[in-house]
């Protein structure tokens, strides 16, 4: 099922920078996909708050001698 969408305006300059970035680095099929990815990253990061990634937790456990 297609998700409902809304339009948001961003500066033309930023839009073109993202286009250039995708061209050079690949990994995204459109500016929209790029923006959705980045925004999601930030939001999920916020929701996880202070929790470090599992890898960071393991690092701390190792430094304390637990692992």
């Amino acid at each position: 099922m297609e998700k409902e969408t809304v339009s948001v305006e961003i500066s033309k300059d930023l839009y073109e920078r993202i286009e250039r970035y995708i061209k050079e680095n690949g990994g995204f099929s459109s500016v929209r996909e790029f923006i959705e990815f980045v925004v999601n990253e930030v939001l999920e990061g916020e929701e996880e708050g202070g929790y470090s990634s599992e890898e960071e937790i393991k690092e701390r456990l190792r430094s304390l001698g637990y692992l």
């Binding site: 708050g49 929790y51 393991k58 637990y66 692992l67």
Partner: protein
């Protein structure tokens, strides 16, 4: 799988990164309420999920349910009211819906949304939580000394607070969960303590450990009453015990910064819930667990668990143990047929008296390596 957190998901109210910067700046403009070390430990336990599903201090609705039903308003088992007391002066013109900064030593550690401001009846609180109104009870005495209003609402931790001196042993629930997973443990039994270990403690821990993958020895650090062992003594004693008598790959030692409340049965359930959040599947409930004086019957802390079939962590009731000269080891009344003339009762009070007198408790009560460590302290007790 280690235990699912209480209420379904591990609460995380620790703010980092850009949002933390923003909240730190915001805190400077907010009304400030200074908190005690005890409250700071509660804030930390909320933020790191040790008190999941709580996201803040109780609002009046949850408070009343906890007081009378031992459950939150959504029916989740919860036995100890986690509350923030303030005076009218401290509250100033703060209204429900406002954000306040909670400070420790003048520094903002958390931002709280004040959803609810309410009065409370301390005697009713004491009777419900401690089953007595007697001010000689240390928990009741503390309750009577609290301020006249309670404020409830969610909070975000914006500055790390810790109980100095024990950082190396302070693991958060997210960390113990990863640790247990890495160790491949599926069943973990937790042992709550505020004592230096004698043979009886070692016996119950090992009896439990025989049937599960791992053991979490989890003493409380923080406020305790006069005459209890000091935190650093408990930690040093366990270091010695584990070094000499425990297989390293089946035990984890960590401390939990949380005040003792001496609320007996209710606190036993609270202790179990908190350990569930740390990823434990089993919890050892002592005889007269979290009790003090003669306020609770010896097995009340066991009986209360029958009211919580939905607790999500399995309580283990292990009988009081003693040394039997005839059996030639630590046993309990269920497995030893011999009479009192063979039995050496291990009394914490007796051990305490010996230590106070600078005498080494016998090896039928305490491991010599542990006794030596404890006796090395000039005063091992809280003054």
């Amino acid at each position: 799988m280690v235990s699912r957190p209480h209420g379904g998901r591990l609460v995380n109210r620790v703010v980092s990164g850009r949002r933390r910067e923003a909240l730190l700046a915001e805190a400077r403009e907010l009304h400030k309420i200074e908190v005690s070390m005890d409250i700071a430990s509660d804030i930390r336990n909320i933020a790191y999920g040790a008190y999941s599903p709580l996201t803040g201090f109780l609002t009046s609705d949850d408070y009343e349910h906890v007081l009378h039903d031992m459950r939150l308003s959504d029916d989740t088992p919860w036995t100890i009211p986690i509350v923030l007391d303030v005076s009218r002066e401290e509250l100033g013109d703060v209204r429900e819906g406002d954000d306040v900064a909670l400070t420790l030593g003048g520094e903002a550690i958390a931002i709280m949304r004040v959803e609810d401001i309410y009065g409370w009846d301390k005697e009713e609180h004491a009777r419900s939580v401690y089953k007595t109104k007697d001010p000689a009870h240390p928990g009741v005495r503390k309750t009577y000394g609290m301020k006249e209003l309670l404020i409830g609402g969610p909070l975000d931790l914006i500055k790390e607070v810790s109980y100095a001196g024990f950082e190396k042993y302070s693991l958060n629930p997210a960390e113990t969960r990863v640790l247990f997973k890495e160790k491949g443990w599926k069943t973990i039994v937790a042992f709550q303590t505020r004592n230096v270990p004698h043979l009886g403690h070692e016996y119950v821990q090992k009896a439990a450990l025989t049937f599960v993958d791992g053991l979490l020895i989890h003493p409380l650090v923080g406020w305790k009453k006069r005459g209890d062992y000091r935190d650093e003594v408990i930690v040093a004693a366990y270091e010695a015990l584990i070094k000499h008598y425990y297989p390293r790959d089946s035990v984890v030692f960590s401390v939990l910064w949380m005040q003792m409340r001496y609320a007996g049965p209710r606190e036993a359930v609270h202790h179990a819930i908190v350990r569930k959040n740390f990823g434990c599947t089993h919890f050892i409930v002592g005889r007269d667990h979290a009790g003090v004086g003669n306020y609770y019957g010896p097995y009340e802390a066991w009986d209360i668990f029958s009211e919580f079939p939905d607790l999500g962590i399995t309580p283990l009731f292990i009988r009081e143990s003693f040394y039997c000269r005839k059996c030639g080891g630590m046993v309990n009344a269920k497995i030893c047929p011999h009479g009192d003339e063979y039995r050496v009762r291990i009394s914490g009070t007796k051990i305490r008296q010996m230590i106070m007198a600078g005498k080494k408790p016998p090896e039928t009560m305490m491991r010599p390596e542990v006794a030596e460590v404890v006796l090395r302290f000039k005063n091992p007790f809280v003054e």
